[in-house]
């Protein structure tokens, strides 16, 4: 039950793009076609799950731990450590995928390098270890490992839903006659605004 609330909250209510403003660059950048949007989302679910798993363990067993007989809290190194780990992880996923599953690599490979600078990955890793989870009917608490991984994979799924909807709309927009000054990014942003307005309807369901 609790996992269900976490999933709904992450996918719809706190949608990563439309209400938390993470991962806007790929949201605007790779949303011209539904098929590429789909590939990007799949790659992101994989990377965000893995990244949160690793960074959660690093936060709780490396940055806050007893070293040399002294209790230490070096969480101020969080940003540097997390981004390096994420960059290395993405590279590793790329290399492994190329070796063991070339077909999947063909489909997702080109998106992987872009993911390092997708702020949704770093954002989610930092959020799950620093902020308490809160939703209606659940007392707010720090998430444990399982919840953290589920939460950030759900965030990635929320990203997927938003970007696929958005790409569908943009494919239609290509065919319509848009005033010159609105062409390109401006009309995309306005569309995204309307989509965000629609997602606000989910507020309060959990």
């Amino acid at each position: 039950m609790e996992y269900l609330i976490i999933i709904i909250s992450a996918v719809f209510v706190n949608n990563v793009v439309l209400s938390q403003f993470l991962g806007i660059c790929p949201f605007l950048g790779v949303s011209k076609k539904v098929s590429t949007a789909f590939g990007m989302s799949l790659a992101l679910v994989l990377v965000m799950g893995l990244a949160t798993l690793v960074t959660y363990l690093i936060q709780n067993y490396v940055l806050i731990n007893t070293w040399f007989g002294e209790k230490m809290d070096i969480t101020f190194m969080q940003t540097i450590v997390f981004i390096l780990v994420i960059a290395a992880l993405v590279q590793m996923v790329e290399i492994i995928l190329k070796k063991i599953n070339p077909t999947l690599y063909q489909a997702l490979g080109i998106f992987l390098p872009l993911i390092t600078t997708n702020c949704a990955v770093l954002g989610a890793s930092i959020l799950v270890v620093t902020k308490e989870f809160s939703a209606k009917g659940v007392e707010s608490h720090m998430m444990n490992l399982g919840e953290s991984v589920v939460y950030s994979m759900s965030l990635a799924i929320g990203f997927g839903i938003a970007i696929i909807l958005f790409a569908g709309m943009r494919e239609q927009l290509e065919l319509s006659n848009v005033p010159k000054a609105l062409k390109g990014t401006p009309i995309a942003l306005i569309t995204a605004g309307l989509l965000a307005l629609a997602f606000m309807g989910f507020q309060g369901i959990v």
């Binding site: 190194m77 981004i83 954002g123 401006p186 942003l189 965000a196």
Partner: protein, 197 residues
């Protein structure tokens, strides 16, 4: 004079928000008021200026294949420095901007300028470029923040000019997209008119 051009380019011709469309996450998320937008812009500018300078210094000794990880480490270090300094001296702003301060690391503007400019220009030129892009970013964010604050909260730079409630939607998430979209239209229109004249 020719060096000065790098500074001006960053503000108008290469404006990171309206022309390059980079660094959209902080642009949308932190512009709930003019002061917040400006704070985010200045924090990014500080990181951009320092990282551009250090990277242009280090570029000649960094092997090509590991250059991106090296840049990321340098940028992350400066971001952490800015984070600590803000926590110490502007705790209020630090709390409002929250997670978006560490996320300056993955702001495409910073890494983008390192890769596209700083590693092939001198320290002075890189500093001017960082400053220019930083000012351009700060101006854009302050501008968006001001519009959202005026429409959504009926106040400007935290001075309320009417006691009634504003159009709340502009402070919330959808308003961010809409305001940025329409400001871009305005920017395109002005640029177009200039070209014709």
């Amino acid at each position: 004079m020719s060096k000065f051009k790098y500074l001006i380019d960053g503000i108008v011709k290469n404006n990171p928000t309206f022309v390059l469309v980079l660094g959209m996450c902080p642009t949308l998320a932190t512009t709930t008021s003019a002061v917040n937008g400006m704070g985010m812009g200045l924090a990014t500018m500080a990181v951009l200026l320092c990282s551009n300078m250090v990277i242009s210094l280090l570029a000649p000794v960094i092997p090509n294949k590991v250059r991106i990880p090296c840049y990321i480490v340098v940028i992350a270090a400066f971001v952490t420095v800015v984070q600590l300094v803000m926590q110490a001296y502007t705790p209020g702003l630090y709390e409002t901007l929250g997670i978006f301060i560490p996320l300056i690391v993955v702001n495409c503007i910073v890494l983008g300028r390192a890769e596209a400019f700083a590693n092939k220009h001198s320290v002075l030129e890189s500093a001017l470029d960082g400053l220019g892009i930083g000012i351009g970013f700060t101006l854009a964010l302050t501008c968006i923040g001001l519009v959202r604050e005026v429409l959504g909260n009926l106040s400007a730079f935290e001075n309320k000019f009417s006691s009634s409630d504003g159009m709340l939607v502009f402070v919330l998430a959808p308003g961010a997209f809409l305001v940025l979209g329409y400001l871009m239209v305005l920017f395109n229109k002005l640029k177009d008119r200039k070209k014709k004249a």
